[in-house]
Symmetry: C2
Subunit: 184 residues, 2 copies
DNA sequence: TTTATTCGGAAACAATCATTCCCTATTATC
DNA sequence: GATAATAGGGAATGATTGTTTCCGAATAAA
Protein backbone atom coordinates (compact mmCIF):
# COMPACT_ATOMS: atom_id res chain seq x y z
CA UNK A 1 0.00 0.00 0.00
CA UNK A 2 2.85 2.36 0.81
CA UNK A 3 4.40 1.67 -2.56
CA UNK A 4 1.07 2.49 -4.20
CA UNK A 5 0.94 5.73 -2.22
CA UNK A 6 4.44 6.57 -3.39
CA UNK A 7 3.21 6.32 -6.95
CA UNK A 8 0.23 8.50 -6.10
CA UNK A 9 2.65 11.08 -4.75
CA UNK A 10 4.46 11.14 -8.08
CA UNK A 11 1.31 11.70 -10.09
CA UNK A 12 -0.11 14.36 -7.78
CA UNK A 13 3.25 16.14 -7.66
CA UNK A 14 3.59 16.24 -11.41
CA UNK A 15 0.05 17.10 -12.46
CA UNK A 16 -1.52 18.59 -9.35
CA UNK A 17 -4.81 17.64 -7.76
CA UNK A 18 -7.42 18.70 -10.28
CA UNK A 19 -5.56 17.54 -13.38
CA UNK A 20 -5.15 14.05 -11.93
CA UNK A 21 -8.15 11.91 -12.77
CA UNK A 22 -8.74 8.72 -10.85
CA UNK A 23 -7.93 7.03 -14.13
CA UNK A 24 -4.45 8.53 -13.91
CA UNK A 25 -4.36 7.50 -10.29
CA UNK A 26 -5.27 3.86 -10.85
CA UNK A 27 -2.83 3.58 -13.75
CA UNK A 28 0.00 4.97 -11.64
CA UNK A 29 -0.88 3.02 -8.51
CA UNK A 30 -1.45 -0.20 -10.47
CA UNK A 31 -4.78 -0.56 -8.75
CA UNK A 32 -8.30 -0.83 -10.09
CA UNK A 33 -10.86 1.84 -9.38
CA UNK A 34 -12.74 -0.35 -6.95
CA UNK A 35 -9.60 -1.10 -4.97
CA UNK A 36 -8.81 2.56 -4.60
CA UNK A 37 -12.29 3.32 -3.29
CA UNK A 38 -12.05 0.37 -0.96
CA UNK A 39 -8.85 1.70 0.55
CA UNK A 40 -9.83 5.38 0.56
CA UNK A 41 -13.11 7.21 0.95
CA UNK A 42 -12.63 9.36 -2.15
CA UNK A 43 -10.04 11.12 -4.28
CA UNK A 44 -9.55 13.77 -1.65
CA UNK A 45 -8.65 11.15 0.94
CA UNK A 46 -6.07 9.65 -1.45
CA UNK A 47 -4.55 13.07 -1.85
CA UNK A 48 -4.39 13.68 1.88
CA UNK A 49 -2.69 10.34 2.44
CA UNK A 50 -0.24 11.03 -0.39
CA UNK A 51 0.46 14.47 1.02
CA UNK A 52 1.25 13.15 4.47
CA UNK A 53 3.45 10.43 3.08
CA UNK A 54 5.33 12.96 0.96
CA UNK A 55 5.84 15.23 3.93
CA UNK A 56 7.14 12.38 6.07
CA UNK A 57 9.62 11.23 3.42
CA UNK A 58 10.86 14.73 2.62
CA UNK A 59 11.25 15.60 6.27
CA UNK A 60 13.37 12.52 6.77
CA UNK A 61 15.56 13.43 3.80
CA UNK A 62 15.93 17.03 4.90
CA UNK A 63 16.84 16.17 8.47
CA UNK A 64 19.42 13.61 7.43
CA UNK A 65 20.96 16.07 4.96
CA UNK A 66 21.24 18.64 7.74
CA UNK A 67 22.62 16.06 10.16
CA UNK A 68 25.84 15.90 8.17
CA UNK A 69 27.65 18.97 9.38
CA UNK A 70 30.15 19.83 12.07
CA UNK A 71 28.36 22.99 13.22
CA UNK A 72 25.14 24.95 12.72
CA UNK A 73 26.44 26.82 9.70
CA UNK A 74 27.51 23.63 7.90
CA UNK A 75 24.23 21.89 8.68
CA UNK A 76 22.35 24.83 7.23
CA UNK A 77 24.52 24.82 4.12
CA UNK A 78 23.85 21.12 3.61
CA UNK A 79 20.11 21.69 4.03
CA UNK A 80 20.12 24.39 1.37
CA UNK A 81 22.25 22.29 -0.96
CA UNK A 82 19.83 19.41 -0.54
CA UNK A 83 16.93 21.67 -1.49
CA UNK A 84 18.68 22.84 -4.64
CA UNK A 85 19.40 19.28 -5.70
CA UNK A 86 15.82 18.19 -5.13
CA UNK A 87 14.60 21.17 -7.15
CA UNK A 88 16.54 20.06 -10.20
CA UNK A 89 16.42 17.31 -12.78
CA UNK A 90 13.57 14.87 -12.95
CA UNK A 91 12.51 15.46 -9.37
CA UNK A 92 12.55 19.19 -9.91
CA UNK A 93 10.38 18.84 -12.97
CA UNK A 94 8.00 16.62 -11.05
CA UNK A 95 7.64 19.33 -8.45
CA UNK A 96 7.08 19.63 -4.74
CA UNK A 97 3.72 18.51 -3.43
CA UNK A 98 3.75 21.11 -0.67
CA UNK A 99 4.36 23.96 -3.09
CA UNK A 100 1.80 22.56 -5.51
CA UNK A 101 -0.80 22.21 -2.78
CA UNK A 102 -0.14 25.70 -1.48
CA UNK A 103 -0.61 27.22 -4.91
CA UNK A 104 -3.46 25.07 -6.20
CA UNK A 105 -5.52 24.29 -3.11
CA UNK A 106 -4.76 26.70 -0.26
CA UNK A 107 -7.41 29.14 -1.46
CA UNK A 108 -10.20 26.61 -1.83
CA UNK A 109 -9.41 23.75 0.55
CA UNK A 110 -9.09 24.70 4.23
CA UNK A 111 -7.90 21.23 5.24
CA UNK A 112 -5.01 21.28 2.78
CA UNK A 113 -4.31 24.93 3.61
CA UNK A 114 -3.84 24.02 7.26
CA UNK A 115 -1.52 21.14 6.40
CA UNK A 116 0.56 23.36 4.14
CA UNK A 117 0.87 26.12 6.73
CA UNK A 118 1.82 23.64 9.41
CA UNK A 119 4.49 22.14 7.18
CA UNK A 120 6.00 25.53 6.33
CA UNK A 121 6.04 26.54 9.97
CA UNK A 122 7.71 23.30 10.98
CA UNK A 123 10.39 23.80 8.37
CA UNK A 124 10.88 27.40 9.37
CA UNK A 125 11.24 26.38 12.99
CA UNK A 126 13.81 23.77 12.05
CA UNK A 127 15.86 26.32 10.13
CA UNK A 128 15.61 28.85 12.95
CA UNK A 129 16.84 26.13 15.29
CA UNK A 130 19.86 25.45 13.09
CA UNK A 131 20.67 29.16 13.09
CA UNK A 132 20.54 29.25 16.88
CA UNK A 133 22.71 26.15 17.06
CA UNK A 134 25.22 27.94 14.88
CA UNK A 135 25.12 30.96 17.12
CA UNK A 136 25.70 28.74 20.14
CA UNK A 137 28.68 26.97 18.58
CA UNK A 138 30.12 30.20 17.20
CA UNK A 139 29.75 29.43 13.49
CA UNK A 140 27.02 32.08 12.99
CA UNK A 141 27.25 35.63 14.35
CA UNK A 142 24.96 36.56 17.24
CA UNK A 143 23.53 39.58 15.44
CA UNK A 144 21.79 37.42 12.81
CA UNK A 145 18.02 37.63 13.30
CA UNK A 146 17.14 33.94 13.48
CA UNK A 147 13.38 34.16 12.86
CA UNK A 148 13.49 36.69 10.03
CA UNK A 149 16.33 34.87 8.33
CA UNK A 150 14.53 31.55 8.68
CA UNK A 151 11.38 32.97 7.08
CA UNK A 152 13.38 34.34 4.17
CA UNK A 153 15.10 30.99 3.76
CA UNK A 154 11.71 29.31 3.58
CA UNK A 155 10.89 31.68 0.74
CA UNK A 156 14.12 30.65 -0.96
CA UNK A 157 13.41 26.94 -0.62
CA UNK A 158 9.85 27.26 -1.89
CA UNK A 159 11.00 29.56 -4.68
CA UNK A 160 13.64 27.03 -5.70
CA UNK A 161 10.91 24.48 -6.34
CA UNK A 162 8.97 26.96 -8.47
CA UNK A 163 12.03 27.91 -10.49
CA UNK A 164 13.09 24.29 -10.80
CA UNK A 165 9.69 23.40 -12.21
CA UNK A 166 10.17 26.11 -14.82
CA UNK A 167 13.26 24.23 -15.95
CA UNK A 168 15.72 27.04 -15.18
CA UNK A 169 19.07 25.54 -14.35
CA UNK A 170 20.30 25.87 -10.78
CA UNK A 171 23.94 25.81 -9.78
CA UNK A 172 23.84 24.49 -6.22
CA UNK A 173 27.33 25.52 -5.11
CA UNK A 174 27.08 29.07 -6.40
CA UNK A 175 23.48 29.68 -5.33
CA UNK A 176 24.11 28.41 -1.82
CA UNK A 177 27.31 30.42 -1.58
CA UNK A 178 25.28 33.56 -2.23
CA UNK A 179 22.52 32.50 0.17
CA UNK A 180 25.04 31.92 2.96
CA UNK A 181 25.69 35.67 2.99
CA UNK A 182 22.39 35.91 4.87
CA UNK A 183 24.28 34.41 7.83
CA UNK A 184 27.02 37.06 7.81
CA UNK B 1 -13.00 43.37 -23.06
CA UNK B 2 -9.89 44.29 -21.07
CA UNK B 3 -12.01 44.66 -17.97
CA UNK B 4 -13.45 41.19 -18.61
CA UNK B 5 -9.92 39.83 -18.98
CA UNK B 6 -8.97 41.44 -15.68
CA UNK B 7 -11.74 39.50 -14.02
CA UNK B 8 -10.54 36.33 -15.73
CA UNK B 9 -7.09 36.98 -14.29
CA UNK B 10 -8.55 37.13 -10.80
CA UNK B 11 -10.36 33.81 -11.15
CA UNK B 12 -7.44 31.98 -12.75
CA UNK B 13 -5.03 33.38 -10.15
CA UNK B 14 -7.19 32.27 -7.26
CA UNK B 15 -8.30 28.83 -8.42
CA UNK B 16 -5.79 27.86 -11.07
CA UNK B 17 -6.51 26.62 -14.57
CA UNK B 18 -8.09 23.22 -14.05
CA UNK B 19 -10.28 24.19 -11.10
CA UNK B 20 -11.75 27.10 -13.04
CA UNK B 21 -14.79 25.94 -15.00
CA UNK B 22 -16.06 28.05 -17.83
CA UNK B 23 -19.09 28.57 -15.59
CA UNK B 24 -16.79 30.26 -13.08
CA UNK B 25 -15.28 32.18 -15.95
CA UNK B 26 -18.53 33.48 -17.40
CA UNK B 27 -19.78 34.43 -13.94
CA UNK B 28 -16.62 36.39 -13.20
CA UNK B 29 -16.37 37.99 -16.63
CA UNK B 30 -20.11 38.80 -16.70
CA UNK B 31 -20.32 37.18 -20.13
CA UNK B 32 -22.42 34.33 -21.45
CA UNK B 33 -20.78 31.12 -22.56
CA UNK B 34 -21.41 31.87 -26.21
CA UNK B 35 -19.84 35.28 -25.90
CA UNK B 36 -16.69 33.85 -24.39
CA UNK B 37 -16.34 31.34 -27.21
CA UNK B 38 -16.96 34.09 -29.74
CA UNK B 39 -14.10 36.13 -28.35
CA UNK B 40 -11.72 33.21 -27.72
CA UNK B 41 -11.17 29.90 -29.41
CA UNK B 42 -11.38 27.89 -26.20
CA UNK B 43 -10.64 27.96 -22.49
CA UNK B 44 -6.94 27.64 -23.13
CA UNK B 45 -6.98 30.76 -25.28
CA UNK B 46 -8.76 32.69 -22.53
CA UNK B 47 -6.06 31.60 -20.12
CA UNK B 48 -3.26 32.64 -22.45
CA UNK B 49 -4.80 36.07 -22.95
CA UNK B 50 -5.31 36.45 -19.20
CA UNK B 51 -1.73 35.37 -18.58
CA UNK B 52 -0.29 37.92 -20.98
CA UNK B 53 -2.44 40.66 -19.54
CA UNK B 54 -1.35 39.76 -16.02
CA UNK B 55 2.28 39.77 -17.04
CA UNK B 56 1.97 43.16 -18.70
CA UNK B 57 0.27 44.75 -15.69
CA UNK B 58 2.66 43.26 -13.15
CA UNK B 59 5.70 44.24 -15.18
CA UNK B 60 4.45 47.81 -15.27
CA UNK B 61 3.93 47.81 -11.49
CA UNK B 62 7.33 46.28 -10.82
CA UNK B 63 9.21 48.67 -13.07
CA UNK B 64 7.53 51.73 -11.62
CA UNK B 65 8.23 50.51 -8.07
CA UNK B 66 11.89 50.10 -8.97
CA UNK B 67 11.97 53.48 -10.72
CA UNK B 68 11.64 55.23 -7.36
CA UNK B 69 15.16 55.05 -6.03
CA UNK B 70 18.22 57.24 -6.08
CA UNK B 71 20.66 54.45 -6.91
CA UNK B 72 20.76 50.79 -7.89
CA UNK B 73 20.61 49.54 -4.32
CA UNK B 74 17.55 51.64 -3.48
CA UNK B 75 15.77 50.60 -6.66
CA UNK B 76 16.39 46.96 -5.80
CA UNK B 77 15.11 47.47 -2.27
CA UNK B 78 11.94 49.05 -3.59
CA UNK B 79 11.44 46.19 -6.02
CA UNK B 80 11.74 43.63 -3.23
CA UNK B 81 9.43 45.63 -0.97
CA UNK B 82 6.89 45.78 -3.75
CA UNK B 83 7.02 42.00 -4.12
CA UNK B 84 6.44 41.47 -0.42
CA UNK B 85 3.45 43.79 -0.45
CA UNK B 86 1.90 42.07 -3.44
CA UNK B 87 2.42 38.70 -1.75
CA UNK B 88 0.32 39.72 1.23
CA UNK B 89 -3.30 40.40 2.04
CA UNK B 90 -6.05 39.77 -0.45
CA UNK B 91 -3.73 39.88 -3.44
CA UNK B 92 -1.37 37.48 -1.76
CA UNK B 93 -4.20 35.08 -1.05
CA UNK B 94 -5.34 35.37 -4.64
CA UNK B 95 -1.88 34.34 -5.78
CA UNK B 96 0.48 35.03 -8.64
CA UNK B 97 -0.57 33.75 -12.04
CA UNK B 98 3.04 33.15 -13.08
CA UNK B 99 3.78 31.03 -10.03
CA UNK B 100 0.48 29.22 -10.39
CA UNK B 101 1.13 28.50 -14.05
CA UNK B 102 4.66 27.30 -13.36
CA UNK B 103 3.47 24.87 -10.71
CA UNK B 104 0.24 23.66 -12.31
CA UNK B 105 0.97 23.73 -16.03
CA UNK B 106 4.71 23.81 -16.76
CA UNK B 107 4.95 20.02 -16.71
CA UNK B 108 2.04 19.40 -19.08
CA UNK B 109 1.68 22.52 -21.23
CA UNK B 110 4.75 23.45 -23.31
CA UNK B 111 3.22 26.74 -24.45
CA UNK B 112 2.62 27.94 -20.91
CA UNK B 113 5.98 26.53 -19.81
CA UNK B 114 7.74 28.68 -22.40
CA UNK B 115 5.83 31.79 -21.34
CA UNK B 116 6.67 31.16 -17.70
CA UNK B 117 10.36 30.61 -18.37
CA UNK B 118 10.53 33.71 -20.51
CA UNK B 119 8.89 35.77 -17.82
CA UNK B 120 11.28 34.51 -15.12
CA UNK B 121 14.28 35.18 -17.30
CA UNK B 122 13.09 38.68 -18.10
CA UNK B 123 12.65 39.41 -14.40
CA UNK B 124 16.01 37.91 -13.58
CA UNK B 125 17.65 40.02 -16.24
CA UNK B 126 15.99 43.13 -14.88
CA UNK B 127 17.25 42.40 -11.37
CA UNK B 128 20.76 41.67 -12.64
CA UNK B 129 20.64 44.99 -14.48
CA UNK B 130 19.72 46.81 -11.28
CA UNK B 131 22.65 45.17 -9.51
CA UNK B 132 25.02 46.30 -12.23
CA UNK B 133 23.58 49.80 -12.06
CA UNK B 134 24.28 49.77 -8.33
CA UNK B 135 27.82 48.64 -8.95
CA UNK B 136 28.28 51.43 -11.47
CA UNK B 137 26.95 54.12 -9.11
CA UNK B 138 28.87 52.73 -6.14
CA UNK B 139 25.88 51.64 -4.02
CA UNK B 140 26.63 47.91 -4.47
CA UNK B 141 30.11 46.37 -4.08
CA UNK B 142 31.88 45.16 -7.22
CA UNK B 143 32.48 41.69 -5.83
CA UNK B 144 28.75 40.86 -5.79
CA UNK B 145 28.02 38.17 -8.41
CA UNK B 146 25.22 39.86 -10.35
CA UNK B 147 23.84 36.79 -12.18
CA UNK B 148 23.92 34.38 -9.26
CA UNK B 149 22.44 36.94 -6.90
CA UNK B 150 19.71 37.77 -9.40
CA UNK B 151 18.76 34.11 -9.74
CA UNK B 152 18.56 33.72 -5.99
CA UNK B 153 16.43 36.85 -5.76
CA UNK B 154 14.05 35.37 -8.32
CA UNK B 155 13.74 32.38 -6.03
CA UNK B 156 12.94 34.74 -3.18
CA UNK B 157 10.26 36.59 -5.12
CA UNK B 158 8.59 33.42 -6.33
CA UNK B 159 8.87 31.87 -2.89
CA UNK B 160 7.24 34.95 -1.38
CA UNK B 161 4.15 34.32 -3.49
CA UNK B 162 4.00 30.69 -2.35
CA UNK B 163 4.38 31.62 1.30
CA UNK B 164 1.90 34.48 0.93
CA UNK B 165 -0.68 32.09 -0.49
CA UNK B 166 -0.18 29.89 2.55
CA UNK B 167 -1.28 32.87 4.65
CA UNK B 168 1.98 33.19 6.58
CA UNK B 169 2.46 36.80 7.58
CA UNK B 170 5.30 38.71 5.95
CA UNK B 171 7.00 41.71 7.48
CA UNK B 172 8.24 43.64 4.46
CA UNK B 173 10.74 45.90 6.20
CA UNK B 174 12.42 43.14 8.17
CA UNK B 175 12.41 40.56 5.39
CA UNK B 176 13.87 42.97 2.86
CA UNK B 177 16.47 44.16 5.38
CA UNK B 178 17.69 40.56 5.63
CA UNK B 179 17.57 40.04 1.88
CA UNK B 180 19.67 43.14 1.27
CA UNK B 181 22.58 41.36 2.94
CA UNK B 182 22.91 39.50 -0.35
CA UNK B 183 24.26 42.77 -1.76
CA UNK B 184 27.01 43.11 0.86
C1' DT C 1 -13.85 -30.43 0.00
C1' DT C 2 -16.67 -26.81 1.15
C1' DT C 3 -17.84 -22.51 3.01
C1' DA C 4 -16.94 -17.82 4.08
C1' DT C 5 -14.50 -13.73 3.41
C1' DT C 6 -11.54 -10.59 1.57
C1' DC C 7 -9.59 -8.42 -2.29
C1' DG C 8 -9.09 -6.75 -7.10
C1' DG C 9 -11.30 -5.48 -11.68
C1' DA C 10 -14.50 -3.76 -14.94
C1' DA C 11 -18.78 -2.10 -16.27
C1' DA C 12 -22.53 1.27 -15.04
C1' DC C 13 -24.05 5.52 -12.77
C1' DA C 14 -25.03 10.48 -12.23
C1' DA C 15 -22.91 14.85 -12.46
C1' DT C 16 -20.11 18.14 -14.50
C1' DC C 17 -17.26 19.71 -17.93
C1' DA C 18 -15.96 22.19 -22.39
C1' DT C 19 -17.95 23.17 -26.58
C1' DT C 20 -21.41 24.15 -30.23
C1' DC C 21 -25.59 25.75 -32.13
C1' DC C 22 -29.32 28.75 -32.60
C1' DC C 23 -31.93 32.63 -31.45
C1' DT C 24 -32.42 37.59 -30.28
C1' DA C 25 -31.12 42.31 -30.27
C1' DT C 26 -28.41 45.97 -31.84
C1' DT C 27 -25.76 48.37 -35.08
C1' DA C 28 -24.42 49.75 -39.62
C1' DT C 29 -25.44 50.25 -44.56
C1' DC C 30 -27.94 51.27 -48.49
C1' DG D 1 -36.86 53.16 -43.19
C1' DA D 2 -35.70 48.41 -44.59
C1' DT D 3 -32.28 45.08 -44.61
C1' DA D 4 -27.95 42.97 -43.88
C1' DA D 5 -24.53 41.88 -40.62
C1' DT D 6 -22.62 41.29 -36.36
C1' DA D 7 -22.39 40.56 -31.34
C1' DG D 8 -24.28 38.61 -27.31
C1' DG D 9 -26.98 35.33 -24.60
C1' DG D 10 -28.67 30.74 -23.33
C1' DA D 11 -30.14 26.14 -24.02
C1' DA D 12 -28.62 21.60 -26.04
C1' DT D 13 -24.70 18.15 -26.74
C1' DG D 14 -21.16 14.94 -26.33
C1' DA D 15 -17.27 13.78 -23.74
C1' DT D 16 -15.13 13.12 -19.33
C1' DT D 17 -15.19 13.16 -14.53
C1' DG D 18 -15.72 11.09 -9.75
C1' DT D 19 -18.20 7.56 -7.68
C1' DT D 20 -20.71 3.22 -6.92
C1' DT D 21 -21.95 -1.37 -7.63
C1' DC D 22 -21.60 -5.84 -8.96
C1' DC D 23 -18.96 -9.91 -10.10
C1' DG D 24 -15.07 -13.17 -10.11
C1' DA D 25 -10.82 -14.94 -8.03
C1' DA D 26 -7.96 -16.08 -4.33
C1' DT D 27 -7.24 -17.11 0.43
C1' DA D 28 -8.40 -18.79 4.96
C1' DA D 29 -11.35 -21.44 7.98
C1' DA D 30 -14.06 -25.49 8.97
Amino acid sequence: MDTALDRAVRVFSERGYHATSIGDLTAAMRLATGSVYKAFRDKHAVFLAAFERYVALRQEETRSAAAQGANGRERLRNLLLSYVEHSQGSEGRRGCLVVGSAVELSAVDPVVAALVSARLETNEGFIAGLIREGQADGSIPRHVAADDTARLMICITQGLRVVGKARLSLDGKRLVAVAMKLLA
